[in-house]
Structures are given as structure tokens and as C-alpha cells.
């Protein structure tokens, strides 16, 4: 009995290791490749071996992005940070309020509108990108047109809604007896006790927005308002491709996010667990 148990555990570790490698090797390849000469990135298995390490590619990225024509790395990063922050903040604000209204308040027309919101979760952004471009082509090359369309989000409303449904009614009751109106009840009572919901939506919105590609491709040509993801394709389209620089750029793109994610990982997983995403 004891022996089979130990054997099972060993097998479990073996499978875990194989799975972890599948998920981790591309990440490793990215980071190691970013420190190796471009000519050796694509060289079979030796692409994995950390030899000839240097920061040459990183210097190359900054050299390459060093004129007003190409734009500057710092500039792209600032644009990405501003747009992403605006979208995350706006999204938390408007979607949580809408979800609270749908989950906890009674008003006429609510049911029909909520059903409509649920239906909207299946419309992919790509499907409306073209008419949206048509509507807003006069606003090209601005920061706000990159952010505003993504604040209201049907799926985020749905996520918040499932969290708010679980809030015990006595809490609102108590707030009301203390004389709090709907705004105070929401911001001072509900928001603090549903932090995991806000964390979940913040992380998901952040990840989606930080990597957003299609809309900026359509709306941005001016390098001063260009977000980071667009610059990946600049490097990719070089002839001959400087793979080392592509990977260095990719590493700078991903490592800050990865760091934040690793720090908040437990929190994130816990918050998803406590949500009603369970269906």
C-alpha cells in the first residue's frame, strides 16, 4: 500500500514536471533568446543554451527606437500605461455600478436591459471594429479614442453581477437604517467587502488592454501616441529580422506584467474561486 502510494506520487511529479515544462519553455526561450545574438536565436536546440549572453539586443532596441520618426520606447510605454490605467479605472467604475444596479436594485426595464447586456457578451470587438473605425475615423491618433471604447464591458458587468448577488441583504439593510443613500451604500459598504471582484476585473481588464493590438493598428499611425504592442510588429518586419531584438522587446513588454502577476497570483486565484464564475 505504502509503496504504490509513493509510486503514484512520483508519477504525479513526473506529469507535473512535463506539463510545467510545456508551459514554461516558451517563456524561457523568450528570456534567454533576448540575451543572445540574433543569429543564434534560431539555431535549433542551441537556442536553449545560455551562451554568448549580452545586453546587446536591449541596447539595439533603444538604438532602433531613437528618432521622432520611429518613436521612443519610453514614449510607447507611457502611452500604454496611460491607456491601460484609464481603461482599468473606468472599467471598474462604470461596470461595477451597472452590475450593482442590476443585481441589487429594482427599477423598470431592468430585466430587459440586463438580458441585452448578456447578449452583448457574445459580440466580439473584431466584429464591430470596422464600423467603429468608420464612426470615429476623425479621432485617429488620439489617446482617448484608444481608451474610451473599452471602459464599458458586458463581460465585466456579468462578472461583477455574480459577485454582488452573493452579498447578504442584511448589510445593505443596516447601511440604509443608518441613513446611507444608494451612493454611500455602494461606495462605502459594498465596494470594500467585494474587493476580490474588483481585483478579478482589474486583472482581466489589464491583461486584455495591455496586449490590445487590433484597434491601435487601425487607429494609430503617429508614433507619439503609439502603444507598446504595435512596436512588436515594427521589429518583426525588419529585414533581415533581428530576432534577438524582437525577444528583448518582448521581454521588456512581459517581465513587468509577469512580476506583478506573480506577486498577486494567489490573490487572483482566490478571487476567481470565490466568484460565482462557477456557473
Amino acid at each position: 500500500m505504502k509503496r504504490t502510494h509513493r509510486w503514484q506520487t512520483a508519477l504525479h511529479y513526473l506529469i507535473l514536471t512535463a506539463v510545467a515544462l510545456f508551459f514554461f519553455l516558451p517563456v524561457y526561450y523568450l528570456i534567454v533568446g533576448s540575451f543572445r545574438p540574433s543569429t543564434e536565436v534560431l539555431s535549433g536546440l542551441s537556442g536553449f543554451v545560455p551562451t554568448n549572453l549580452s545586453v546587446e539586443n536591449y541596447i539595439g532596441v533603444f538604438d532602433h527606437l531613437s528618432s521622432d520618426a520611429t518613436g521612443y520606447f519610453g514614449q510607447f510605454a507611457v502611452v500604454s500605461i496611460i491607456v491601460t490605467t484609464a481603461v482599468v479605472a473606468g472599467s471598474l467604475f462604470v461596470n461595477s455600478m451597472a452590475a450593482y444596479s442590476f443585481a441589487r436594485m429594482q427599477w423598470r426595464g431592468k430585466k430587459v436591459l440586463f438580458l441585452l447586456v448578456i447578449v452583448l457578451t457574445i459580440i466580439p470587438f473584431e466584429a464591430v471594429a470596422l464600423p467603429l473605425y468608420f464612426m470615429f475615423s476623425g479621432q485617429r491618433d488620439t489617446i482617448y479614442i484608444q481608451a474610451i471604447p473599452f471602459m464599458a464591458n458586458a463581460f465585466s458587468i456579468f462578472l461583477f453581477y455574480t459577485f454582488f448577488l452573493d452579498v447578504p441583504g442584511e448589510i445593505e439593510e443596516a447601511a440604509r437604517l443608518d441613513g446611507a443613500g444608494p451612493f454611500r451604500t455602494f461606495f462605502q459598504v459594498i465596494v470594500p467587502i467585494t474587493k476580490p471582484a474588483f481585483a478579478t476585473v482589474a486583472i482581466l481588464t489589464f491583461l486584455a488592454q495591455w496586449g490590445s493590438y487590433l484597434w491601435p493598428v487601425l487607429m494609430v499611425s503617429d508614433p507619439t501616441v503609439r502603444p507598446l504592442p504595435l512596436a512588436i510588429s515594427i521589429f518583426q518586419n525588419q529585414q533581415p529580422p533581428e530576432w534577438g531584438q524582437v525577444l528583448a522587446f518582448g521581454t521588456m513588454f512581459i517581465v513587468p506584467v509577469l512580476a506583478v502577476f506573480l506577486i498577486f497570483q494567489r490573490w487572483f486565484v482566490a478571487s476567481i474561486s470565490s466568484s460565482a464564475v462557477k456557473g
Binding site: 504525479h12 514536471t17 510545467a20 508551459f23 516558451p26 517563456v27 526561450y29 534560431l42 539555431s43 535549433g44 536546440l45 537556442g47 462604470v94 455600478m97 451597472a98 444596479s101 436594485m105 429594482q106 427599477w107 447586456v117 447578449v119 457574445i122 466580439p124 473584431e126 466584429a127 464591430v128 471594429a129 470596422l130 464600423p131 468608420f134 464612426m135 471604447p149 473599452f150 464599458a152 464591458n153 458587468i157 437604517l177 441613513g179 443613500g181 444608494p182 451612493f183 454611500r184 455602494f186 491583461l207 496586449g211 493590438y213 504592442p229 512588436i232 510588429s233 518583426q236 518582448g250 513588454f253 512581459i254 509577469l258 502577476f261 506573480l262 497570483q265 464564475v277 462557477k278 456557473g279
Partner: protein, 321 residues
């Protein structure tokens, strides 16, 4: 101001009535709370969708001095009868369906398997979980770059090199993305790598909510681990599995970024990987045929809606969601 008056009003309403009628003392609070988000959705999702429907009846070009011309259902008719267009559109639809048909079952089962795998309390599990979560933070633009390198043709490509090593050089190197036979499969593996951990988290959450007493009862009945899994675990998380299958279906029809980026760099076989989404963008922007792209959008939305309705109906019939 409003909060002030509301504060004064609130206590005058009898407590009993308030609890049953919610915030009835504030008749406009509900719509007021919902309006910013609803306004955003109306302007940036509903309006452009309605515009797509309208545009689909016109022949219209972007930045063109020529006025739009009403052509009725011509754009729709051409999608199915114009030999060049119909073939490409049919192929794109077929690609979407094949992708969904493979990805939905595979990814749902994989998410379940991974969740079971990391659900056991073992030393070092946090580290294993962390590795599995990592791809979640990868934007698709970067995922496409890295996997393009992994799939590179010739001995230089990572996948070819690994296969060569394990087969002792007997497997010749393959052009994974360029060969129509393997292009879609390669994109499927890449997509699963990038997104299965999200589904895994959802399933993991459900696994942990299955009451432990059920397992205790099952092991008293001397049920094997496998029998416990089939009779306790799977029924216990049925609704979650349906939910995961549903969102995976919808996401697999939205397939866009990966294919678009790879086809931009010319490294992927277009015919076997083009999706309806990439075709819409190519038709609308590269070929500047807005009306045609709009007609594709409308048909595509109809298909997604029908699939979502069928899935929900099927799930409900078996007593779920």
C-alpha cells in the same frame, strides 16, 4: 446633493417595505447607476453593430469621395454565389468550425485534467501552478512571435530540433505553419498554450467547492479513485464544465489575433488558417470593401448567436445553468 436628500428621506420609509422593494425610495438611482456603462455599450458596441447591418446593404469604401450606393442584398448574395468570394468565405467558416470542434472538447478536458493535477496538496505545488499560469500574461502579439520561432521550418526551428533529437534524426524537419495539413493544428496548440490556464482556474475553483463528505462517503463504499472521479467529481462540477465549454466556443469563433499576425508576417498558410474574423478585417481594410465586410460580420454574428442559443438550450435540457 442627491445623497443629502436621500439620507433624509430614507428613514421615513417603513423598514419592512424597504427590504422587499429594495431601494424603492430612490427611483432614479437604479437607472442612474447603470447608465454610464449602458451608454458606453450603446455607443461602442450596439451602434457600430447596427451600422454594420446598414453598411451591409451598401457598396461603400473608406476615405472615398464616391458616395455609398444602395445595393440591397447583393453583398449577401455574392458571399454565397460569387465563385471567388464564396469559396474563400466557405473555407474561412470551415476553418472556424474545425477549430471550435477540436479546441472546445480538447481544451475543456485539458482544463479539467490540469485542475485535477494541481488540486492535490503536494510539496512545491505553488511553483508548478505558477509555471502553468505564466502564459496568461502573454499578449497574443507576443505569443505569435514566440511560437512562430518555435514552429520555424528547417533544422533551425525549435520544435523540429526537439523532434530530431528524440527520433535520432529519423523525423525530417517540417514546415509546421506553412504546410496546410499542420497549420491549423499548430495554431490550435499555440492557442491552448496561451489560454487553457484561464479555464483551469475556473475548473479548479469548482473542484474545491465539491463537498468533501461526498468523497468520504464514496471511499467508505470502496469506490476507486477513478470511480470517485466519474461519479462524484464530474457531476459535482457539471455546470462549470458547461460554462467553460460555452465560453471556449465563443472565444474560438472570435479567433483573430494569432492568425492575423502570423499571416502578416507571411509565415502561415493562409487558406487553411484564415478565419471569418481575419477575412472581415482583410476585406474591410486591405481591400477597402466595407459593405462586403459588413455583410460577413452580420452573417457571422447570426451564426454565433445560433450556436450560443443551441448550447444554452442543450445545457438547460439536461438540468444545468
Amino acid at each position: 446633493m442627491t445623497t443629502q436628500t436621500q439620507q433624509i428621506q430614507a428613514p421615513t420609509v417603513p423598514a419592512r417595505r424597504r427590504s422587499s422593494a429594495g431601494l424603492s425610495g430612490h427611483r432614479f438611482a437604479g437607472p442612474l447607476f447603470a447608465s454610464p456603462a449602458l451608454l458606453g455599450l450603446a455607443i461602442f458596441l450596439v451602434a457600430p453593430f447596427v451600422l454594420a447591418v446598414v453598411l451591409s446593404f451598401y457598396r461603400v469604401q473608406l476615405n472615398s469621395p464616391r458616395p455609398a450606393r444602395f445595393v440591397g442584398f447583393e453583398q449577401y448574395a455574392r458571399l454565397f454565389t460569387d465563385p471567388d468570394l464564396a469559396a474563400a468565405f466557405g473555407q474561412a467558416l470551415l476553418n472556424n468550425f474545425s477549430f471550435a470542434l477540436i479546441v472546445v472538447p480538447v481544451q475543456t478536458v485539458l482544463a479539467l485534467a490540469l485542475a485535477v493535477l494541481v488540486n492535490r496538496k503536494l510539496r512545491g505545488m505553488v511553483i508548478f501552478r505558477t509555471f502553468i499560469f505564466m502564459p496568461l500574461v502573454f499578449p497574443l502579439a507576443l505569443t505569435a512571435v514566440i511560437w512562430r520561432l518555435i514552429y520555424s521550418r528547417g533544422d533551425q526551428g525549435l520544435l523540429n530540433a526537439i523532434l530530431g533529437l528524440f527520433s535520432g534524426g529519423t523525423l525530417s524537419s517540417h514546415d509546421w505553419l506553412g504546410d496546410p495539413a499542420t497549420a491549423l493544428g499548430s495554431i490550435i496548440v499555440m492557442s491552448i498554450w496561451q489560454s487553457v490556464s484561464f479555464q483551469m482556474i475556473i475548473v479548479l475553483a469548482a473542484l474545491q467547492s465539491v463537498p468533501t463528505e461526498l468523497y468520504e462517503a464514496a471511499s467508505l463504499d470502496r469506490a476507486s479513485k477513478w470511480a470517485q472521479f466519474i461519479n462524484v467529481t464530474v457531476p459535482g462540477i457539471r455546470n462549470t464544465l458547461i460554462f467553460v465549454a460555452l465560453i471556449t466556443t465563443i472565444f474560438s469563433f472570435r479567433l483573430f489575433d494569432q492568425v492575423y499576425l502570423l499571416s502578416r508576417s507571411g509565415s502561415v498558410d493562409r487558406g487553411s488558417t484564415e478565419t471569418v474574423m481575419t477575412q472581415i478585417i482583410n476585406t474591410g481594410f486591405d481591400n477597402n470593401n466595407v459593405g462586403q465586410a459588413a455583410a460577413m460580420t452580420v452573417i457571422f454574428m447570426l451564426i454565433i448567436t445560433v450556436i450560443a442559443i443551441i448550447q444554452r438550450a442543450a445545457a438547460r435540457q439536461r438540468g444545468g445553468v
